[in-house]
């Protein structure tokens, strides 16, 4: 068990009648890379801002090593932060930007010089020390911002969608940099993003936010392979949802009836469901097979489109009752791509890789 490091206790933030964060409680061990993932307006940034001290929570507490941070003004919290927008000081050189937190702390000049050199080599921008921020690309600016945020060895580094202004290739490059820097420095990172791939790539754990609450927290594998709710299943990775009716369940597995009357046995169900309750069956695209496998369930479908992607095919099919399914089965030699519409085919999936969720209100 890791020691208690950063604790968020029943954090609530209301703006008038609108509550942006509902009683979020969270423990973050030292050195963890935790990502707040969620759609915009889900409260992830508001939670981060409360930790930074930019927003006073309505109630609740933020504790660092047992001491409340709330009465500490931002400039005394000793927290590092990289922002969504470029926030380098435009009138200072790269080296002076990184030196800024050390200068306001009145560190001796020799220490400042050494630390700036260390930090610039950490983000691999040694040769840019004398440039002004305006002469740097967006990716370089964010790396300087990272160096500036780490220069004073803060116990916590906050990152608020730092890569959202960059193009995809650059994003992936800097993600790798961030992973390396986290490994090398061991700093505790709280990272906010709405990009699930970025979250899966970077994080030790992911807290998935929805409407101001944490819907599920766990490793990327937890969220992908064991989603707690339909929202989690839909947000992380690609998923297909089929309308279903719950028949009976026992020990976390259930039997359901699909819209065409066929019965699927042995799907996973973590929620309590009544007999006959309307439900949604989630199947990942890669769980589908084109050929029958012992114990698999089958669906009779019409093939709308089929394309070949090397190791996998992308097959779009329509069920008899009109649901469209995006399947990514492993390629085998017997199927032909681009066959056009074919009716009356069967596709197969392992019920143990399917999850049953209660149908949400209004869904």
């Amino acid at each position: 068990m890791t020691q208690l490091f950063l604790s968020i206790r029943k954090l609530r933030k209301a703006f008038g009648a609108f509550t942006a964060v509902h009683d979020v409680t969270l423990d973050i061990p030292k050195g963890e890379f935790l990502t707040f993932l969620g759609p915009s307006g889900s409260g992830k940034s508001t939670t981060l801002y409360a930790i930074a001290g930019f927003q006073d929570p309505t109630s609740g507490d933020v504790l660092l090593q047992g001491k409340s941070l709330l009465s500490v003004p931002s400039h005394k919290r000793n927290i590092g932060m990289v922002f969504q927008r470029y926030t380098l000081f435009p009138h200072l050189s790269v080296a002076e930007n990184v030196a800024f937190p050390l200068r306001v702390r009145r560190r001796p000049e020799a220490d400042v010089k050494r630390k700036v050199a260390d930090m610039l080599s950490l983000v691999r921008l040694e040769s840019f020390a004398e440039r002004l921020p305006a002469a740097l690309s967006g990716g370089q600016q964010q790396r300087v911002a990272l160096a500036r945020a780490l220069a004073y060895d803060p116990p916590i580094l906050l990152m608020d969608e730092p890569l959202s202004a960059l193009d995809k290739k650059l994003r992936e490059e800097i993600q790798a940099e961030i992973r390396r820097i986290h490994r090398e420095t061991g700093v505790t990172v709280l990272y906010v993003t709405h990009d699930q791939e970025e979250a899966l790539h970077l994080s030790d754990r992911i807290a998935l936010f929805r409407d101001g609450r944490i819907e599920q927290i766990g490793t990327g594998e937890d969220l992908y392979l064991r989603p707690a709710t339909e929202f989690v299943a839909g947000f992380i990775g690609n998923s297909n949802f089929l309308a279903a009716e719950h028949l009976e369940s026992e020990n976390g597995t259930a039997s359901v009836r699909l819209a065409d009357g066929s019965i699927v046995k042995g799907v996973k169900a973590t929620h309590k469901l009544e007999r006959g309750q309307k439900a949604r069956l989630m199947v990942r695209p890669e769980a589908f097979r084109m050929r029958p496998v012992e114990g698999n369930a089958s669906l009779t479908v019409e093939i709308v489109d089929m394309a070949f992607f090397g190791d996998r095919r992308r097959v779009v099919v329509r069920t008899g009752w009109g649901d469209e399914i995006d399947a990514r089965p492993i390629s085998d030699s017997t199927d032909r791509s681009n066959v056009g519409a074919v009716a009356g085919r069967q596709i197969f999936f392992d019920p143990a890789a399917a999850f049953l969720f209660p149908a949400e209100q209004g869904a």
């Binding site: 400039h75 926030t87 000081f89 009138h91 800024f100 306001v104």
Partner: protein
Amino acid sequence: MSVEAKQGIAPLRIPAGLGGLLPALILIGLFFVVPVLALLLRSVTDPAPGLQNYAALLGDVTYARVFFNTFLVALVVTIVTVLVAFPVAWMLAIMPATLASVLFGIIILSMWTNLLTRTYAWMVLLQRTGVINRTLMGAGIIDQPLPLINNLTGVTIGMVYIMLPFMILPLVGTLRAIDPMTLRAAALCGASPLAAFRRILLPLSLPGIAAGGLMVFVMSLGYFVTPALLGGTSNMMLAEMIAQMIQSLLNWGLGSAAAFILLVVTMALYALQLRLVGVRRSTGGA
């Protein structure tokens, strides 16, 4: 017609594409360059050719006092204007746009109100038996009326009030261009509000302060109405002196020379500011 027009323009050798600038150039030449040249000419020819007018102005203690006093007033007014304008400009820069535009309207409105009216209003407020002195005495804060008028204090108050919009407008532009997130970043880096102001906000707003400050300083150097009404006889400013030379003494040559010195000083200051702001920007002020 067009052939004639071309022939008329051709001897001036105006590069292609600059023809459109001609009306503006004529306007500036006719109403700016020519009068300034006439002024210069007069200062070295009236009453007799030579530099005696300049020698008289620069060699006389009385005139030197006027020059000194002019620069002192302009400097004090500029400094006080910057100090008052900065918080107002910052507030305008960060407040919601609709509210800011209302306040802008009020500031602009004060510029459109007649200058003489505004200066007389200050006389009513500042004089010995004026509103301010009577209120303070009525409240028992002072026993004797404060000397607020016919001295440097009166001139400073009146002129700062008139100059404020010229400082606020360029400063708001500069401050709006500063991302407030930059200041949040400075705070998380450990900068106290004072340190963030000194190391980040102030250096970033220097171009606006310099632009507004120069405008205020230059306008103050040549200001006439407010110093004449609110100032005392012991601290006459250059514009008043020029008016006296020409209106009372009918000495056009001396007045022209004084006006020309003022113009040269103003242009020199402008050149200096261009250099300073340019240099500061490129070295990062570190």
